[in-house]
Symmetry: D3
Subunit: 320 residues, 6 copies
């Protein structure tokens, strides 16, 4: 049966479907009766849920957060839609289709990943090639790489977003590298591939898009660098070490790719390759962010709402 999406629910519907539950709280009414307040959500939005005549046992059984099957009814309360719950049953996370609850890239993940591998196959420097291969051969990591978002908000914030962002950056790199013959293409390609690889550890995306403890303490820049060193060490242990100069030049791209100290880069770009990765990253992220905001804003105003990260509203009217 098709999922009834939160954004489509109207007042007065009978609800009989699975939703993600977050922050359930057990409360008592003025008469002393217990009830449970909670948020119910899927990838299209979030509503308040209320279960009257609840018991402490029901409350304790609820996942915090997790998935539940809801039997109830939608209604307007003080002009806001809420769901009044009659029965609630816990659902194992393995049993749900995660894409119902987290948005996913609309590009073909398998095809993008194949194109990335094909592009990286063009790297000629044997050490960079070996290092990249070490990452590609790590099936568990590549599985995360294919599914992680690129951010919790702003740009490419969907399952597969990191892959889509990396894939498009590689396409841009291949398109413009011929125009800059003094820029070392192998370093740029390896740098683009690995610049955000630490986001597989920085971000959590099993229930919703958020940061891991490690991600908040270290950040994906440091995590990417540590992941590269560990693979380089593994290669060295197998007798094919990476030259310090190559490791440092690649590490520098990772460390400087946010371009400015205030955006969390501990080093400023100091090589043509670092500048190129920085600009391609920013271009792809910002154009994605801007075009997504323009498309997703409801209504037909010529302008989106205020975008704090860009310090402007965005103009949506096209001349074409």
């Amino acid at each position: 049966m098709a999922h009834r999406f939160i954004s489509e629910i109207e007042a007065g519907e009978t609800i009989n479907d699975i939703y993600m539950v977050r922050e359930p709280i057990l409360r008592s009414t003025t008469r002393g009766d217990l009830y449970i307040a909670m948020f119910l959500s899927d990838r299209t939005g979030r509503l308040n849920g209320r279960m009257w005549q609840a018991t402490e046992a029901v409350y304790k059984a609820l996942p915090k957060p997790g998935f539940v099957h809801i039997d109830g009814r939608s209604e307007l309360y003080q002009n806001n839609l809420q769901i009044v719950i009659n029965n609630v049953g816990v659902i194992d996370a393995d049993k749900v289709d995660l894409e119902t609850f987290l948005s996913r890239t609309d590009k073909d993940i398998g095809r993008m990943f194949e194109q990335i591998k094909s592009t990286l196959d063009g790297i000629k420097n044997p050490q960079l090639k070996a290092l990249v291969a070490e990452f590609l051969a790590d099936a568990e990591l590549m599985d995360k790489f294919r599914n992680a978002p690129a951010a919790t908000s702003l740009h490419h914030n969907c399952l597969g977003g990191l892959l889509e962002h990396t894939h498009n950056m590689l396409r841009v790199a291949c398109a413009i590298l011929p125009l800059y013959p003094n820029v070392q293409g192998d370093l740029v390609l390896a740098g683009v591939f690995l610049h955000d690889i630490g986001k597989t550890e920085e971000l959590s995306y099993d229930m919703a898009f958020s940061y891991t403890d490690s991600g908040q303490l270290m950040g994906h820049i440091a995590q990417s660098l540590l992941m590269i060193q560990r693979r380089a060490d593994a290669l060295a242990a197998r007798g094919t070490p990476i030259d310090k100069e190559i490791f440092d030049a690649l590490g520098h791209i990772i460390l400087s790719h946010h371009g400015e100290y205030k955006f969390g880069s501990p080093k400023l770009p100091a090589t043509p390759e670092a500048f190129m990765v920085y600009y391609i990253d920013d271009l792809d992220a910002k154009v994605n962010q801007v075009t997504s905001a323009i498309e997703n804003e409801p209504g037909d105003s010529n302008w989106t709402g205020w975008k704090n990260a860009l310090q402007t509203r965005l103009y949506r009217k096209r001349i074409e």
Copy 2:
């Protein structure tokens, strides 16, 4: 006869050639004799010149600045090379080959200009096409556009630099526009072509690269915008007006293409096209600046000197 470039002169040479003269000063020695101190330069560098036993008449005849034929000799004075002048003759600016005195792009100006015209020919929107054609049809302006530098220093600071920068930006735009189907290509192409057109009025480059009075008071962003309005007005007077929305969308690209208030943009980018022109401009300027600094720095150190505009030294060692 081949010009003897300043950078190649060694101590003890007989000098018999044309140089640019700047800031000549008439002075008297402790014994009361008059002499003239001046700078002599070409595009490779600058030396002190000294003419002993000078007269006020000789001094008054000197252009300030301009070109002179020098008959003299190079010598070391306090470890610095200087030129001791026996005779000096004024040379008309029309008679000299300007490229000897101002560096010029090593790309083919005619070919780049043809490619630019060919690329702009791909614009489909009839109003943008007409507006661009109005600029291309202005022979005097296009002559300046082919010869102006893109900056007095930092990047593309050579005759033809503005053309080379615009040409390469158009090539980047054409290469990546297919990757961003929601971005309106016509606006990007017209925006790239015209984003710095005001530099033809902002910069002076007949003797050396500097700013005009108008350039310092107004800046090329405002000047570009004024130039576009004047062409739009001319088109309107001929019965083919530019829609206000199209004029504003293009004007917005001009006004916001420095990307941040602190770099002199009075507006922040608010359309996908404005973001794209901003990033392509910055990418092309910075990569040119970085690769030029790496190539032109003498010596074989792994690092260039400190680059204040980039707040770093640049790493010159290649892994390839």
Copy 3:
């Protein structure tokens, strides 16, 4: 019949008057009945309106935004006053007195405009005089100039606010110019008159104070400059061109009058006249903003609320 102002309505009144309607939304109650929620406002404030038992036809007929005649009753709902609407009728915008809905300067507009003309008549430089006359002769523009606000908020945000601000700045300029004999008075007077003239195009003030599309894309600084060039071009076409040096000196005042890059000036002041216009503008705007905030804040606390633009609260106690 006198208008019943929003700020004076108490609970339990019968309402029978015209208000501006904004953002009407058609909703259904839990029982499935349709109702319309909307905002009702005049220049003194805004209330929620609710029309129960509404129909889709009534909803579609409502202007979004526009003016309506309301037949209903005020009541307290959850401690907030709202208006329950029995009947609603659309009113043509031409039939309402705009000043009921948008606040207007309490100064005499006609008299201020006459004083401005009289002051500008003192300009001696014939070209600046001609340029100023070109603006004063544009009846349609002068009509906008007399009615536009100076800002959407913060200072002089009322109909006629731009005129009041310009008028007071001219009075300050005339008062202090004799104290600075090296400052060129003609440039200061013309600069003050035209510094914000683009706000007639940047701002929209027929229903409420907001920005036009063109205003958001270009900004009043660029718009003022473009308006000046167009008048200068018209004068030139009539055989009395403005010298480039005069145009540039005036344009520089426009471009630099926000004083800092971060406030949207693409050029920093570089002439005594530009500094003077910048300081007079800032002084008049800030003193108006501060004294207005002190007067308009309800209650009798010694301090106003936090003013984010000034990063402080304001002290209201007087020593006199």
Copy 4:
């Protein structure tokens, strides 16, 4: 006999005049002979002085800094003018005309001071009037107030500069206060008079313009405030205390008159009077700084050199 000013000395003159001496150093030549190097200056400039065949006794007798009578000759050495000294005699500082060595305002100090007193006489609030009178009655302080510079550089950096700056600010205040009827004039006049009074303690100007130890440790803002408290305490001890509210409102003007934290104000303006004093101060200082720079720059270029404090060069061409 008229003083021979440093700026007028040419090579080959016999020198027989009094100059300020600074930083004398005793050195030995390669042959082991002792000589003294020093700077010789007056208010028009500074030259190197060299006394060959010096003795340690002569060196020890030299003031560091102070005044000396020089018997010698000017000559060119490596294209720089220097003075070769035959005899040097120490001159008591009381015997020299300080104005030869420190520039002085060209306005009439006595007349400006009388006008200031007359203006302040218009203060009506009895407590502010008493406080201002307490300052005016302090003859020693008023003597410093009449002679101190307003700054060591940038603006009004001459003897009498503080007086001239305060005098002109009072004239501006009187000219514009009628245009702002909600601003309390008494507070503005007292605030203008006392805003920089601490500069009499912050700056040293007996030999050259510099900072006192106390000035560097505390700054004139804190020093002004302390001076006001001490006079208020004295009035209180005589039975006419200043209300805390009046003291605080005046103190607030002093503390906030630099307008921004980064310019050393520990408080931001929070009253209309504080805003007005801040703007009048900045306007008068900047217009003085700009017009002085334009007048004093030698040569006839349209532009002055780069002014770091203003982040621009200044345009000198007039349209009048």
Copy 5:
């Protein structure tokens, strides 16, 4: 009878206790009946109070703010707890235990003050010793010093917080001064003792923690300095003046102890002692702020909420 703390009240309780009342407002229902809305609080939190069937006489009798005895009942209204009031009686502020309403340090105030006096007794410089003694001998001031908070929020925001902060800073100073033999300990100890003494005048803490008018106009940095000058003047009047150099060195510590202009210091640290007081202050304040936030945040998440002043969330998990 024990006070029933706000944070412990549940729905359905009978309320019979004293609370602080703030911002009472008299309103009328849709039926025209009068009622009073107000906030009721103690140091653990704040609830809405509603007194139905109120009269204007009852409203007028309420302190704004002050203390009242409440006879009523708690109930849930729209999921928020509120107190419905049957009777209300005004309580004199002298009759309540202030600590019930304002949180107090859990350290022993008397013991901390004794330790501070003992530490300051170690100052050897006779003038600093005399100046410190002048403060310690001011019983009224010391009473404020023992009770004032160190801030209205963020750190040590409790009665006795200023004392606790000063006490701990002195302990840190004593612990590390032996490690920095070139730093003058007497100045550091006196500087720590007096660095925030002006907070006794800047902050108001009789009803709640807020700023006095004087505090907002002047700030504790200026107030501390003025307080020191007044004591130094008193000592001088008694024949034991403080040397200007000592006064300035101590004043400099006060003026610079926020370390940066943007935090309200009008001078940057320029002595080793000023640097040390600045760092000890910041260290003690920030560690207190961070550990308090970690302890006081409810729930068991690994992270606190976002802390705007620190621009991060805080990690609460311990490794020990």
Copy 6:
């Protein structure tokens, strides 16, 4: 024989000693004779050296940089001391006492290192203890740790400076940790020990204090983190892994210890331990920098020269 230090050489001495040579250049005089210009230095300063009648063979033999024995004579040339070289002989770097050429801490390195080990022995957490032991057991690294400077300039810029700085920070930590019982001491001690360990790789100090290529590309923050991961991996390979939470908490201290993004920290402090290490680091570095600048400045002025990193001059007068 005692080394003749550069700072003590006077004009006219016979020179017969070893100096570091840098940047030798072969030049020809106006007569065509070859000579060599070079810098000669030791830890006390630097002079120009000139070898007339040089040959290309002598030039080629010179190290660039390295050590040479000089036979020559000091003389004044244009008021600057220089050394005229008669003979020059290359000296092997192993044969020189490096401390003659690079300044060294005046503390006892062996004793400081023992105290550090003893302090770290107090760590109770077994994993942190094991990780710290892994570093202490690396003899080659500890040798670098004992000799590296803490910076190339500003503070602790001497051989052993990193050790001295770390040693003093540990002493401060031990002194104040008892005052902050909620701060986890083991993390602070380990964090202090390792916070700058990457400087052993970032800085080069065999000839002079400078940055390695790797140091410029990566920075000591990233290098420290990589070094910790490698030791943690080694421990894990031996069966005693470090918990991810402990590794992250320690890594966070490293990454955030510069306290602000603009100082190169990619993360802001988010734990009490990170705040404590940050403040102890800054306190120790700044107090060392300030007291060193005060001591080392020649002359007896009350103020040092301008210190750009501190944005102030420093006051040197003591009250004690």
